[in-house]
């Protein structure tokens, strides 16, 4: 806690993340306009007091769209991490716990998943499941599952051979109980640290896929889709891509900063 207060960067990051979460769960408190309703007369206005981030070609308020887009971008990224952790944790637990041939085979498969670039893997999944926020989340999650499996396994192996587990085992405690009481809590920490870091990566991956056109259906204001939409207006309305892009950058920076702190506090 003391370290937190002595670092202004950390405080700013925390505030940004809190703000982003607030936007995600209560956008109506922050938006100044209806994100879907355009005023044609206000087409393509630069940032001003009335429209903080300017307006798009249909006269929609960009700031409000970014606010409402937070849910799509961040919840999709969150879901991706949950998917990644869930798959990774199961594989890692099974692999580390059972060991032997199962471990060998599972870890080789994990090698493969890591060998295929995660965006490529996500693309393949999205191609199969169809476009949209949930397929993108699953795709990104599967892309990230390899690292989680590996970290989980190494923790499980470490804990399993630890003295207190051996002791519990010799006292006749059954494996499921050991799993729940010792292995889970003691191996969770690094996984959580990695998951925190993965949030930033997932936000980037989700917005990249949306940018490429695989994301949520229009007119959903997903952040990557907003940047993508603004591409055609770079010369005439710079704010349409630059401001949502800057928002992604700031949020990812803040999330990563906090995540490193979580990892570093070990």
């Amino acid at each position: 806690m003391k370290t937190l207060l002595t670092r202004p960067g950390m405080i700013v990051s925390a505030l940004i993340v809190i703000a982003a979460l607030a936007l995600t769960f209560a956008p109506q408190l922050f938006a100044t306009h209806d994100p879907y309703e355009g005023i044609p007369a206000d087409q393509l206005q630069p940032p001003s007091a009335a429209h903080w981030f300017g307006t798009d070609a249909l006269g929609r308020d960009l700031y409000s769209r970014v606010v409402y887009g937070a849910f799509l971008s961040l919840a999709t990224a969150g879901l991706a991490v949950v998917v990644g952790v869930a798959i990774g944790a199961v594989v890692g637990l099974v692999s580390g716990f059972i060991g032997g041939r199962v471990d060998f085979v599972l870890m080789r498969i994990v090698d493969v998943v890591i060998a295929v670039p995660s965006i490529l893997l996500s693309l393949i999944v999205v191609a199969g499941l169809g476009f949209g926020a949930v397929p993108v989340a699953i795709g990104v999650g599967i892309g990230a599952a390899g690292s989680f499996a590996r970290v989980t396994r190494s923790q499980v192996v470490r804990v399993r051979t630890a003295e207190y587990v051996e002791a519990a085992r010799s006292m006749g405690v059954r494996w499921p109980a050991i799993l729940v009481r010792h292995v889970f809590p003691n191996s969770a920490r690094p996984v959580i640290a990695l998951a925190a870091l993965e949030v930033g990566t997932a936000i980037l991956a989700v917005s990249a896929l949306s940018f490429l056109g695989f994301g949520a259906a229009p007119p959903a204001p997903e952040w990557g889709a907003l940047v993508s939409y603004g591409r055609d207006f770079l010369a005439t309305a710079w704010w349409l891509s630059v401001l949502p892009g800057a928002v992604i950058l700031v949020v990812v920076l803040a999330v990563n900063r906090l995540a490193r702190a979580i990892g570093g506090e070990r």
């Binding site: 879907y36 309703e37 355009g38 044609p40 087409q43 393509l44 070609a57 249909l58 006269g59 169809g130 476009f131 056109g213 259906a217 229009p218 007119p219 591409r231 055609d232 207006f233 770079l234 010369a235 005439t236």
Partner: protein, 538 residues
């Protein structure tokens, strides 16, 4: 100047005639392409860079349906006939004379005898026969050609320059199709090649340019052929093309193309985003625009998929509740006309339904009220627990749909947009799994209506229940009498509006940009590009 073949032809053309198939004027002026050009046209530069927006994928003009690819293929192959983009008149090109029989089942042609392909083989009736036979055998692999050749039985060769193309049923689109690059002629060697080979290495044509290279996803290069002397009379000059090389780099980002035009990287760019038109509205640039012909972009219903769509009151309300003028202002090209029928205003036979289509949200709401659709707590109407909601499946023009979505929301209609890829779109059609499609169909002939709305058409786009329309569409396709046929086309448009079988949204305009030093850039009747006369001034 007065002897310019171009002027000559314009003078002959019946003014304002809806003469798509005016065969009467056909035989009058064969061979006038040998007249010398009135002025000596030259280009200040030998190589032009024309940035295109997408990979042509298949560079064989006979197989592809992609505008980008057709635009390039047009420079490499010549056609039997040409079509005047202003009058719709079919004029001679490689065929000096042509005539159809009364029920449109056989077409006689007379060929020029001095035409050679770029592999130095001569154009003869046998080569034409080989072209049509091979193309028909390709079937749906060449989907556009197979529509032009529907019912093809054979080609009867009389001698080297005379032949007859025969059909088992009336074919109203063949002659116009013969003016497109889709039925452009290739050398016998190309007709024997496999479909895949022709896609990747191109074809041998008789046009002013030949394929030099095609690097998929990267670029296409065409070079001028020497000794070319058989342009259609619609062109400005005769002899070889004016530039020796045209490079087509594939630049998929709109911003990259417009930026590259500004920085001088590119001489011509395909598809200037409408929003950038104002940027290039200066002396340094020139914009070329032409409205697509055929069916405008709009909502095409499937009444079997959803009770909401099947409800005629709902479709009428959508028709009245969409403001086409606003859609055009926000998402259309500057100066373009708002959509006002099931054909675009540039299509032969177009009859404006503007009065019936005028924006009237009050009337739309009244229609819905009367039909029992009550406004719910969330502002969306509902009836018997059913929300007034439907999904529109599309793979382009998202902004157009977003405006319509905003407009419909105001009268309590929830329109969802499902933007998919081309594969998803046609997959939806194949499985019949859609409420509305949103798309246009680019065809020069008003028979495009039949492709979209006829229940007997192989394309299966609109699923509607409209027996009157069906019989009108079927009948017009058998008529050689232009006036009688256009009456039916007008009737079809009225019926479509009356039953709200189609909700027009936007007339798409081809908008290309070039540096002001570029001259001679022309559109043909199908809004494709002719580069034979293109040149750079210093």
């Amino acid at each position: 100047m007065t002897n310019s073949p171009r002027r000559f032809r314009r003078a002959l053309a019946p003014l304002g005639a809806v003469a798509v198939i005016s065969l009467l004027a056909a035989c009058s002026s064969g061979g006038d392409t040998t007249e010398p050009a009135a002025e000596d046209l030259t280009s200040a530069r030998d190589t032009l860079i024309f940035a295109i927006k997408e990979d042509p994928t298949c560079i064989d003009p006979q197989q592809t349906t992609l505008t980008t690819s057709l635009n390039i293929g047009r420079q490499v192959v010549d056609s039997l006939v040409d079509q005047d983009p202003e009058t719709g008149e079919i004029v001679p090109w490689l065929a000096t004379e042509f005539e159809a029989n009364d029920d449109l089942t056989s077409f006689d042609f007379t060929l020029r005898d001095d035409v050679t392909f770029s592999d130095d083989t001569a154009l003869t009736s046998d080569v034409v026969k080989a072209n049509f036979d091979a193309l028909f055998a390709l079937g749906r692999t060449a989907s556009l050609a197979s529509q032009y050749l529907a019912g093809y039985t054979d080609t009867t060769v009389t001698d080297d320059t005379h032949f007859t193309v025969n059909f088992s049923a009336p074919n109203v689109v063949f002659l116009q199709g013969a003016s497109t690059m889709t039925l452009g002629l290739v050398a016998e060697a190309s007709t024997a090649a496999t479909a895949e080979e022709r896609c990747t290495t191109g074809v041998i044509g008789s046009g002013p340019f030949v394929f030099d290279s095609y690097t998929p996803n990267d670029s296409v290069v065409i070079t001028a052929r020497s000794g070319y002397d058989w342009p259609s009379g619609l062109r400005e000059h005769t002899g070889d093309a004016l530039v020796s090389t045209i490079e087509f780099p594939i630049i998929t980002e709109n911003g990259n193309r417009t930026g590259g035009l500004e920085s001088g990287e590119y001489d011509i760019i395909q598809d200037v985003p409408y929003i950038d038109a104002a940027r290039f509205d200066s002396d340094d640039y020139e914009l070329f625009s032409k409205a697509n012909t055929g069916v405008p972009n709009g909502l095409i219903p499937n009444i079997n998929h959803s009770a909401v769509v099947a409800d005629s009151a709902v479709r009428h309300a959508i028709l009245l509740g969409t403001d086409r003028d606003e859609i055009n202002d926000l998402t259309g090209a500057p100066g373009a006309a708002a959509a006002s029928s099931s054909l675009t205003s540039s299509t032969t036979g177009f009859v404006s339904q503007g009065d019936a289509l005028a924006y009237d949200p009050d009337a739309a709401e009244e229609l819905l009220d009367d039909a029992g659709w009550e406004v719910g707590s969330d502002g969306i109407r509902e009836k018997d627990g059913q929300k007034l909601s439907f999904v529109v499946t599309a793979f382009y023009a998202q902004d157009v749909l977003e405006v319509a979505q905003m407009q419909l929301k105001k009268i309590g209609i929830d329109m969802q947009i499902n933007i998919t890829d081309a594969g998803g779109f046609f997959g939806a059609i194949a499985s019949g799994d859609y409420d509305f499609l949103a798309a246009g169909l680019t065809r020069t002939d008003p028979d495009a209506l039949r492709t979209v709305f006829s229940q007997a058409a192989a394309s299966k786009w609109a699923i509607i229940d409209d027996a009157d329309l069906e019989s009108v569409l079927t009948e017009q396709a058998t008529l050689n009498d232009v006036d009688a046929r256009m009456d039916l086309i007008a009737q079809a448009q009225e019926l479509i509006t009356e039953n709200a079988d189609f909700i027009p949204l936007l007339e798409t305009v081809q908008l290309h940009g070039a540096s002001s030093t570029i001259e001679g850039f022309e559109f043909d009747s199908a809004s494709r590009i002719q580069l034979y006369d293109v040149r750079a001034t210093s």
